[in-house]
């Protein structure tokens, strides 16, 4: 014996739309979860002094090296920003740790000058290969 389906239960265009909406939302949710919220923008150097942001340089926009100086707490740092990198090239701070750090190129990396209390932090861009959450040592 064959069952007859009611015309009202047959799928039509509206049902297809509902299914499409659910599908799109599901894909969007998955993308959000698996990409960590999609926070990654263009690689940007954020310069802070005493915890306050004093400058931001979108490294992805640079086509050639650009030099800027920052002064805080009696120390002056000369920073060279390049396409995809930042480096303290000179500093009159007593420890020179910021100069020794060398070039940073990936989101999450930073250069710290303690005497000046200046931090240059890279944000955005591709994630670091190693995928570490923090570094000790």
């Amino acid at each position: 014996m064959r069952m007859k389906s009611s015309p009202k239960l047959r799928p039509n265009g509206w049902d297809g739309l509902a299914a499409a909406v659910v599908l799109v939302l599901a894909v969007a949710c998955a993308a959000l979860v698996w990409t960590g919220g999609g926070q990654s923008g263009p690689l940007t150097a954020v310069v802070s002094a005493d915890g306050e942001t004093v400058d931001q340089v979108v490294l992805a926009d640079l086509t050639e090296p650009e030099e800027r100086t920052y002064t805080a707490n009696g120390c002056t740092l000369r920073v060279t920003f390049g396409p995809g990198s930042a480096q303290v090239t000179a500093s009159d701070c007593p420890t020179q740790d910021c100069v020794h750090t060398g070039k940073i190129t990936r989101g999450g990396q930073s250069i710290v000058c303690l005497p000046a209390r200046i931090v240059i932090q890279l944000e955005g861009g591709p994630a670091a290969d190693s995928g570490v959450d923090l570094v000790i040592g």
């Binding site: 509206w14 049902d15 739309l17 509902a18 299914a19 909406v21 659910v22 939302l25 599901a26 949710c29 959000l32 979860v33 960590g36 919220g37 802070s48 005493d50 915890g51 007593p94 420890t95 740790d97 020794h100 750090t101 060398g102 070039k103 940073i104 190129t105 990936r106 990396q109 710290v112 303690l114 005497p115 209390r117 931090v119 670091a128 290969d129 190693s130 995928g131 570490v132 959450d133 923090l134 570094v135 000790i136 040592g137």
Partner: protein, 350 residues
Amino acid sequence: MRRFGALLAALLLAGSLTACGGAAAQEMQTAQVFAMDTVMGLQATGGETAEALAAAEDEIYRLDEELSRTREDSAVSQLNRAEAGTSVEVGAELYDLIARALAFSQATDGAFDITLAPVSSAWGFTEDAYRVPAQEELAGLLAHVGSEHVHLDGASAVSLDQGTQIDLGAIAKGYASDAVAAIYQEHGITHGIVDLGGNTWVCGGNLKGEPWRIGVQDPARAGEAEAYTGILRMGDGFAVTSGGYQRYFEENGKTYHHIIDPATGHPAESGLTSVTVVADGTVGNGTMCDALSTALFVMGEERALDFWRSGVYDFDLILVTEDGRLLVTDGIADRFQPDETAGYAYEVIS
């Protein structure tokens, strides 16, 4: 109408799916603190996050003021300035910390020593005015070095012998990490990182529900980014690294680092280039890890491993030797992934 009801239900279902990913969608709140001669990074989420970060920041600044040797008004400076043999009321907190420091000195046979302050100053490490002191100068200063020159009087007073000064720099950040860990717990933080310049406490694992991935800096490539001896996976716990590469100066082609051997007054030459001490996240272990990382660096490989095997304290180790070996104790070997590109000969120690 029924179709719109179905669409509404579908939207609600999709919304609930987004909520299932709540932990992953959560964001870590961060704070940056300049204190204790380093830059500190705090991350937290869950619970009363903003309150926890604010309280942690306040606590770090408070401890910096109390424990600093370079701040004239600190409790430690007042003790150092007091006339020799005078009993100084330092309060219960500083008294207890000094008592713990003395216990670490005793346990490590003097390798950890808070009375090295004048020697460290002679090398210019305290004032960022580096120099190589003469042997006669060091010999004179070493006469006043040793835990026997620090006296605990009553329940909250301390006195120092003539010429003796204390510096809690080798234990203060560890103590601060304990204090911040306690604050995080009080405020119900579910995922957190407390990075106090080489002194680290983590809790809850990352937002994907996995252990935190901690890169251990390769001392041979200290100036390079992403140059690790390996990666330690840890959900909850303390990890502290001491290494000569962290602070040093060069004179006449020779490198002098900041970890002084109390037995010689010179930078320790123990054959180790880096010591990482790892312990569970129990509040109090941060202080222990900080003290032991310094002490075991001074002691060298053999004494450090003997000390670990003695079981006096419950911890694990990652040691890097000058001759290119990477030693990891078996308590954390299953959570440590050595970086083969670093070129070390990897050994698990039991």
